[in-house]
Point group: C2
């Protein structure tokens, strides 16, 4: 997905919020805004938003000296998500279609987002998504693909959200490679976050090698790219991965909540909609 | 009021919305964001927000070639407000305290704002304010001042809002000088807007001389400043005038709705609160 003009003020708002979490020094926060403000003109609209997000969040870390401002908030998200795990499991057990129920739960976990969806209320937002109908639901294709798949490449998104992904992984009954970011970026899941969520018990965890808030292939490791190219069934979670991969010519199912108007317009749905969508660029 | 860091992303969002209204040329809109982004680092936090707003909106006009992007929207606002005039008058007539009822109506008109309160729904927001209790209500002092006043200096804010101000002017039964901006800036009222609202029938309309979205005295005419300095009873409407005049040592009553968190914090109330407040810096 390209960068829209609406992304630019959003970058600045994100920079302010993150800088304030990263440091108490108001002068450094001001410097973050000054420098991010000046970066905006160099953002090519044809690049994807996580490419710019990557540069902006690195700039914030450089100025504030804080390499992982969301560390504690990520761990808290995972703890809160784990506390919901038993009730979500019993929801799956009571459903008519366990995989479909688990897909919805995995999408519900996508409300955890300290980038574009700041100010979420976990319990409230989760139950709202669970009651919602899909705006796009390529479930039959998903089931077909899943039946034929020997292995699933599952590209994770945020910390905390991993707990919800785990529920879907447990229902798919196939070997899963679960992909995380290589280093901390916003509240995106890295290896430690996936382990805290218990993903290591149900899947092989693999770093994509990227330091961006989305799977931008040119920033990924060769190891990841080789696995990605061979994968016949790929699940991509969340906005950042959608933004990075929506133009790809691969068998990818995008699972996400459209948390901003820009993403919603790009997909052709309304803000707040939930989506299970296979995008065919081939 | 000083500029808060939160004002900076808000400036950029306002610039995007305004540029899109001012022109269909996406390249010019991008240039607006680029240039406003670069202006941010030069904004002194000790200056008031309308001082920067003035420079930013001038920049938008310069780049887009549109000196008055809100012209039609202003006129539409006034027409809509005029259509509500009869029902608001009858509300005053049925009230126990006509002046207090009219004050609330004047504040309700403050929801009309294409700067910080974009996306308002006139009828809905007006009735919401009318049902709301004041968070600060220096009404006794206001009544005292009004009783003693020979003349009222009433500093207007936005087009459309003038219609609501007219209702308060009609109830105060004293000579009123109604102050407007000198040239178009956002949707702030200029002479023509006040006339369209019928203010010329109930008050003397005077330009402050400013081209800013707030009464920044150093940008005002000598004529206005002389009248301002001698005034013994001043009414200041809206956020822009509050931002410009809140540190002044004059007998000013601020009538406004706190439409953003920054203003609310500065006043010590909650976002959405309505206020009739005399600020004493003397």
């Amino acid at each position: 997905m390209k960068t829209y003009l609406d992304c630019l003020p959003c970058f600045l708002s994100q920079a302010l919020r993150t800088a304030r979490i990263a440091t108490d020094d108001e002068k450094k926060v001001k410097r973050v805004l000054d420098e991010v403000g000046m970066m905006l003109r160099d953002i090519p609209l044809e690049s994807t938003p996580p490419e710019s997000g990557r540069l902006i969040y690195r700039k914030i870390s450089k100025i504030t000296g804080n390499l992982d401002p969301y560390r504690e908030m990520k761990s808290e998200s995972t703890k809160k998500a784990l506390s919901l795990y038993p009730s979500l499991k019993s929801r799956v057990e009571k459903s008519n279609d366990r995989v479909l129920a688990a897909i919805k739960i995995a999408i519900a976990g996508n409300v955890i987002d300290f980038g574009a969806n700041w100010g979420f209320d976990l319990k409230h937002d989760i139950s709202e998504v669970l009651e919602k109908d899909f705006a796009v639901c390529d479930y039959n294709k998903f089931k077909d693909g899943l039946d034929k798949a020997d292995e699933i490449l599952y590209i994770g998104d945020n910390a905390g959200e991993c707990v919800f992904d785990r529920i879907l992984i447990e229902e798919m009954k196939k070997p899963v490679i679960y992909v995380v970011r290589d280093v901390p970026i916003i509240n995106d899941a890295i290896y430690e976050d996936a382990v805290q969520a218990g993903i290591d018990k149900v899947a092989t965890i693999l770093s994509s090698g990227t330091d961006a808030p989305g799977t931008i292939l040119k920033t990924c490791s060769s190891e990841f790219k080789n696995i990605y190219k061979k994968s016949k069934f790929i699940i991509s979670k969340g906005q950042g991965n959608y933004e990075a991969l929506s133009s790809e010519n691969r068998p990818i199912f995008f699972l996400l909540k459209a948390k901003c108007g820009v993403i919603a317009d790009d997909i052709g749905v309304s803000e707040g909609d939930i989506i299970l969508k296979e995008i065919k660029n081939r």
